[in-house]
C-alpha cells in the first residue's frame, strides 16, 4: 500500500486542483438539460445526434501550390472543413522577400504574400460551400480581405461564406507573441473586422477567442479559461463601443480551446466555459438572443503534450484528448499528428490523426447521448471548481482595469510563466510521469518526417518579383495612400484594405502602412 502512495504522490489534476479519492452526491447539484441556459451541459438539446462536430485539421506548409494539394487530399478523405496554417513571415506581416524572413518561409505554415498566392491556395475549392478557418491575427484584416477577394473572383456571394478568422490579438500579447502593433490600434483593427463581418459577411465568425496558445505556453486549465474569457469580454466591449448591438455580433463570436491530457479536467473546463460565458453575456452585456449566450468552440489536442520520445505514443494521447473534447461538447476538432514534436505532419500521420476522430465519431458510441458525464459527482464538482478559479482571475483582471492594462503590466504572462515552470519542475522531480520521457524509456526507431527545404523561399520570392513588375503600381500606390489616410482616421479600414488587396498590394506593403501609422510593439520580457 505505502509503495503505491510513494509511486504516485500527486493526487491532483494536471493543473494542480487537489482531488478526493471518491466523489458523492454532496459534490454536485442538478443542472438544466443540454440546450438550456446556462448551457453547462451543451448548447444543443441532442448535441451530436443533430450534427457531428466539424473535423478540421489545421494545415499549411511551403508554397500555396503544395498546400492546395494537401487541402484537396484532406477533402477527398472526408475532412469536412479547412483550417489554414500560415508561416511566420505571413503571421508577422512580412512578405516572403523581407530580410527578416531568412529560413522562415513556408516552415510553420503556408507562405502568403499577395492575393495571387491566395488565389492559388484555394484553386479548385469552392468557398461558397467549404468552410475555412484561418489562423491569422495581427494581419487578420488583410488576409481576410484577400480571402473575400478570392471568393468574389469565384463568383461566391459574401453572404454565403462560412468560416472563422482567428483575429484574436489579445492572446498574442499574452502567449503566442505574434503581435505587430501596440494593443489599442490592434484592437481597433479587430473591431473593424467584427463590424465589417456583421454588416457584410454575416455567416463568418470574425474572431476565434483562443485559449489554445495560452495553454500551450504553459498555463493551467483555469488560467486558459480565465484569460480567454477576459479577452472575450474586451472584444465585446469594443464592439459595443463601436456602436454595434450586442445581439448583432455576439452570436458569431467563437472560441478555441486546448485539449490537454487530464481527461476530466478538460471536460470540466469546457462545461465551465459555457456557463461563465452565458452568465457574462446575459448579466454584464444584456444579451437576449439565445445565440449570443451560447459559447461555441473549436478544440485542438495539446501540441505541448506530444513527446519526441516514442512518437507513436502520441497517437494514444491524442485519442484521449480528442475524446475529452467530444465529451465536453466541442463544435469542431483538430487532432494532432504523431510526428508534430518533430516537424509539420507527414501525409500518413495526418491521415491517422483524422481517422482518430472518425473512430470516435462513428465507432465509440459517445455521440449518441448529449453530455454523457452530466451528473457525475466528480465532473460536476470539478466544473464548479474550475469556474470558481476562473471567476477569481476574471475579477482580479477587472480590478486592474481590464485585460489590456493587465497585459501591459505582464500579469497573465507572469502567471503563465510561473505555472509552466512549476509543471516542468514536477516532471524533472518525477512527481509526474510522462511515459517514455521520465519513465518507461527506451530508444525508439526513427519515423519519416515532412521536410521543407529552402526552395519555397526562392519560389515565393521569384513570384513576388514578377508580381511587383506586372501589376499596376500606380493603382497600388493610390490604394496604399488611401489606406494610410483611413488608418489615421477613425472610419473602418476594411474597404480600403480590400481596395489595396484587389490592386495586388502585398501583405508586407499593407502592414507597413499600419506600422507607419500605429507604430510597433515590443514587450517587456518577464522571466
Amino acid at each position: 500500500m505505502s509503495k503505491t502512495a510513494v509511486d504516485a504522490p500527486v493526487w491532483s489534476t494536471i493543473s494542480g486542483i487537489p482531488l478526493e479519492p471518491v466523489y458523492g452526491p454532496e459534490h454536485a447539484r442538478p443542472l438544466p438539460p443540454p440546450g438550456e441556459f446556462p448551457y453547462t451541459r451543451g448548447i444543443h438539446p441532442t448535441m451530436y445526434r443533430g450534427k457531428l462536430w466539424t473535423m478540421r485539421q489545421f494545415s499549411g506548409f511551403a508554397t500555396p501550390e503544395e498546400t492546395n494539394q494537401r487541402y484537396l487530399y484532406l477533402l477527398e478523405r472526408g475532412q469536412t472543413g479547412l483550417s489554414v496554417a500560415f508561416d511566420l513571415p505571413t503571421l508577422m506581416g512580412y512578405d516572403a522577400d523581407h530580410a527578416n524572413c531568412i529560413g522562415e518561409v513556408g516552415k510553420c505554415g503556408v507562405a502568403i504574400s499577395s492575393l495571387e498566392d491566395m488565389e492559388v491556395l484555394f484553386r479548385g475549392i469552392p468557398l461558397a460551400t467549404v468552410s475555412v478557418s484561418m489562423t491569422i491575427n495581427s494581419p487578420a484584416a488583410v488576409i481576410w480581405a484577400m480571402y473575400l477577394a478570392v471568393a468574389e473572383k469565384q463568383g461566391a456571394s459574401w453572404t454565403d461564406l462560412n468560416g472563422t478568422l482567428q483575429n484574436d490579438i489579445l492572446k498574442e500579447y499574452i502567449a503566442q507573441k505574434e503581435y505587430i502593433y501596440p494593443p489599442r490600434p490592434s484592437m481597433r483593427l479587430v473591431t473593424d473586422v467584427v463590424e465589417f463581418a456583421t454588416r457584410s459577411v454575416p455567416k463568418f465568425n470574425p474572431i476565434s477567442i483562443s485559449g489554445y496558445h495560452i495553454r500551450e505556453a504553459g498555463s493551467t486549465a483555469a488560467q486558459e479559461l480565465a484569460f480567454t474569457l477576459a479577452d472575450g469580454i474586451e472584444y465585446v466591449e469594443w464592439a459595443i463601443e463601436r456602436g454595434l448591438d450586442v445581439d448583432e455580433f455576439a452570436p458569431r463570436l467563437s472560441f478555441f480551446f486546448n485539449a490537454h491530457n487530464d481527461f476530466f479536467e478538460e471536460i470540466a473546463k469546457y462545461r465551465a466555459a459555457r456557463r461563465i460565458w452565458a452568465n457574462v453575456m446575459r448579466d454584464s452585456f444584456g444579451a437576449t438572443d439565445e445565440r449570443s449566450l451560447k459559447l461555441r468552440f473549436h478544440t485542438q489536442t495539446a501540441g505541448c503534450s506530444l513527446t519526441w520520445q516514442q512518437p507513436y505514443n502520441n497517437v494514444v494521447r491524442t485519442a484521449i484528448q480528442a475524446l475529452a473534447a467530444v465529451m465536453g461538447g466541442t463544435q469542431s476538432l483538430h487532432t494532432n499528428s504523431l510526428d508534430e514534436a518533430y516537424a509539420l505532419p507527414s501525409e500518413q500521420a495526418v491521415t491517422l490523426a483524422l481517422r482518430t476522430q472518425q473512430i470516435i465519431a462513428h465507432e465509440s458510441g459517445v455521440t449518441a447521448v448529449a453530455d454523457p458525464l452530466g451528473g457525475s459527482w466528480f465532473v460536476e464538482s470539478l466544473t464548479d471548481e474550475i469556474e470558481k478559479q476562473a471567476l477569481a482571475y476574471i475579477r482580479q483582471i477587472d480590478d486592474m482595469g481590464g485585460i489590456i492594462p493587465a497585459i501591459e503590466r505582464s500579469f497573465p504572462q507572469s502567471e503563465i510563466a510561473d505555472a509552466s515552470y512549476r509543471y516542468q519542475q514536477s516532471i524533472e522531480r518525477d512527481e509526474r510521469t510522462i511515459v517514455g520521457v521520465n519513465k518507461f524509456n527506451e530508444s525508439a526507431g526513427a519515423i519519416d518526417l515532412l521536410h521543407i527545404d529552402e526552395s519555397s523561399q526562392q519560389h515565393q520570392c521569384e513570384k513576388l518579383a514578377l508580381l511587383r513588375k506586372r501589376r499596376d503600381n500606380g493603382a497600388v500606390a493610390n490604394a496604399l495612400d488611401a489606406l494610410r489616410e483611413a488608418a489615421r482616421g477613425t472610419k473602418n479600414t476594411m474597404p480600403h484594405i480590400l481596395d489595396a488587396v484587389r490592386a495586388y498590394a502585398t501583405l508586407g506593403e499593407i502592414c507597413d502602412c499600419f506600422r507607419e501609422v500605429f507604430g510597433t510593439y515590443t514587450e517587456s520580457s518577464v522571466l
Binding site: 511566420l88 513571415p89 503571421l91 508577422m92 512580412y94 527578416n100 524572413c101 531568412i102 529560413g103 522562415e104 516552415k107 510553420c108 498574442e172 503566442q176 507573441k177 505574434e178 500551450e216 505556453a217 504553459g218 505541448c304 513527446t307 519526441w308 520520445q309 514534436a341 518533430y342 516537424a343 509539420l344 510563466a417 509552466s420 515552470y421 516542468q424 524533472e428 510522462i434 520521457v437 526513427a446 518526417l449 521543407i452 529552402e454 515590443t522 514587450e523 520580457s525 522571466l527
Partner: protein, 133 residues
C-alpha cells in the same frame, strides 16, 4: 569577483514560442548562473552583439520554427568574425536528428530536443565552461 557562469538565452528569428526559453532561463538561474534573456525576434547580429556586451560564456539559442539551419550557422559565423569562438553555443527546440548533427559540425556544442532534462543541460554547461582560475 563574481564567479558565476554567465549565459545569454536568446530567441532568434520570428518564432514567438518562448515557453522553453523562459523555463531554461529560470532553471539556469536557479542553478546559480547569471542569465540574460534577449526577448523575442533577435537577429544573429543582435544576439552576438548582446553576447559581447554582456560578456557571456554561453549562448543558448531556442528555436521552434524550423529556421535553425539558416539562423544557427549565421550566429557561429559572426562569433568567428568577432573572435568569440571561446563562447559555448548550445541550441534547443524542434531540431530533427540530422539537422542536429549538421549544427554540431558547425560548432554548436550541444543540441537539446523536446523532453531534454533541465539537469542534464545545467550539468553540461557547468562541465563545459572553462572557469577562470
Amino acid at each position: 569577483m563574481d564567479n558565476r557562469i554567465r549565459v545569454l538565452v536568446a530567441k532568434p528569428g520570428l518564432d514567438g514560442h518562448d515557453r522553453g526559453a523562459k523555463i531554461i532561463a529560470r532553471a539556469l538561474r536557479d542553478a546559480g548562473m547569471e542569465v540574460v534573456y534577449t526577448g523575442l525576434r533577435q537577429t544573429p547580429e543582435m544576439i552576438v552583439n548582446a553576447a559581447l556586451q554582456e560578456d557571456v560564456q554561453v549562448i543558448g539559442l531556442s528555436i521552434l520554427s524550423g529556421a535553425h539551419n539558416a539562423i544557427v550557422p549565421r550566429v557561429m559565423e559572426l562569433l568567428r568574425e568577432k573572435d568569440m569562438t571561446d563562447v559555448l553555443v548550445v541550441a534547443g527546440g524542434t531540431i530533427p536528428d540530422e539537422d542536429a548533427d549538421k549544427l554540431k559540425r558547425a560548432g554548436v556544442a550541444a543540441v537539446y530536443q523536446p523532453g531534454a532534462s533541465l539537469d542534464a543541460i545545467v550539468e553540461f554547461i557547468r562541465a563545459s565552461v572553462k572557469q577562470p582560475a
